[in-house]
Symmetry: C2
């Protein structure tokens, strides 16, 4: 629910037209306004509706977790993690918006965005919330960080690769989607560092504008030739290895280890 | 904090440039972007920042109430009211956006918007939350509804009058602000019902666009002549009388009655 809320706002902020092949909230409302010939600006109507839907869902997310029916002794600690998660993802999102506007993200800044906006939000904190609801000890939460944070980083680095090299038929997103959106990902930051000055200028200048299939192919070539793609694959492998080693050292019971190992595999080896 | 959150989103949705004489969040960020000559669209940057600030504050509002330090036996019930309040104000806001887009709000629809977006949110629910934290009984909460809901309605009707007839030097808002924003208030709905067809057409056509001082004066005249202004004053008096009668019948102790009576006076007789 927090995620659905974030997506309504995220699509609006990014100016995304679609979400999983269907119109994004603000675009759907905008189209309704236009078709009905209502008063005022259709875009403003769509934006207002998406903002309000996101606000409503954010409230409901909180309400659902609080009212899940478990005792306050476990819901209270889970809510504290939920609060932290919400603040982290918002801060990560603003840092992302900020580095994109400034037109420059070094590898470290891109890695910080990735950590707060994605690794913690998608993997570490959800594990923490579930564990807290299960009455986890502080040591168990720490073990989940040692497993979940590198895994979450690997998960997002895979996403960055798919955002540039993914097959639209499989991902459901346009080719080179991240490039068109001008995302200053770790992959892009590494490529800008390692490419020749001419290639780096070309890549930098292309970020954030509409691109033909041919242009996407050229930019993919630059990122590949720079070594950034291979470097990200290496880092994904290292992070996954680290996550799995932490899982082995966690002392979790076998049933939990099996499920978490499947999660690690699904998060890092996916093609969508 | 919930209110600050709502304002950041509200100003963005309304396209308001200022808030209490200072730039609205999205406008301040937009200006920063423009001055720095950053990449991308300044308006989109400002909107993203305002959305994220509102999201952050909404989360913090929840966190602050939950962490206020009182026992769960009183914080739990207060949070349930807080949840309801949040859902009500979002629903009222969307109804408002919706009737403005449709270009027509009858008196009943305008009154529903007023009740959910303002009367409950500004007066009834805050009283309930405070009372719940004080360990109020269900009967006391009902008594606060009987007092707070009509008072809240009167409060917003006063606001509607000020939004059309208020003195910019006192309110800090442009003359005829609600007309320029195209707000379908109860006052406007009554005027459209009661004015001559020609006057109603003129008023209806003017809502939601930039207006000269002279045009504002003409529209004020139409609303005044229609009898809507006097009618709203009458309703304010009736609602306030009803609220005060409910207060007399509430059985609250004298100290509470004195404070609530002051609130009633401040909310309905104000000039700003």
């Amino acid at each position: 629910m927090l995620h659905a809320s974030a997506l309504a706002h995220d699509d609006l902020m990014d100016g995304s037209d679609t979400r999983r092949g269907r119109p994004a909230t603000h675009r759907a409302l905008e189209a309704e306004h236009r078709a009905a010939g209502w008063r005022g600006d259709p875009g403003q109507y769509g934006a207002a509706g998406a903002i309000l839907l996101g606000d409503l869902l954010q409230g409901w997310a909180d309400e659902l977790l609080r009212g899940c029916g478990l005792g306050w002794d476990v819901v209270g600690p889970a809510l504290e993690i939920f609060d932290r998660c919400r603040t982290e993802v918002i801060a990560g999102q603003f840092l992302d918006v900020s580095v994109q506007a400034r037109g420059h993200a070094d590898v470290e800044a891109a890695m910080t965005v990735l950590r707060y906006k994605s690794a913690k939000y998608s993997i570490e904190r959800p594990l923490h919330i579930g564990a807290a609801l299960g009455g986890a000890t502080p040591d168990q939460l720490t073990a989940l960080t040692r497993f979940g944070l590198p895994l979450g980083e690997a998960f997002q680095l895979r996403d960055d690769l798919l955002g540039v090299f993914g097959d639209p038929a499989t991902t459901g997103k346009p080719a080179g989607d991240d490039l068109v959106e001008g995302k200053r990902t770790v992959l892009v930051a590494l490529a800008l560092d390692a490419a020749s000055p001419a290639d780096a200028r070309l890549l930098d200048g292309a970020l954030g504008r509409a691109l033909s299939d041919q242009e996407v192919a050229i930019l993919r070539g630059i990122i590949d030739d720079s070594g950034a793609r291979a470097q990200v694959e290496t880092v994904i492998t290292e992070l996954t290895t680290r996550a799995l080693a932490a899982l082995d050292a966690s002392g979790f019971d076998d049933a939990a280890v099996v499920v978490l190992r499947e999660l690690a595999s699904a998060a890092t080896q996916r093609v969508v």
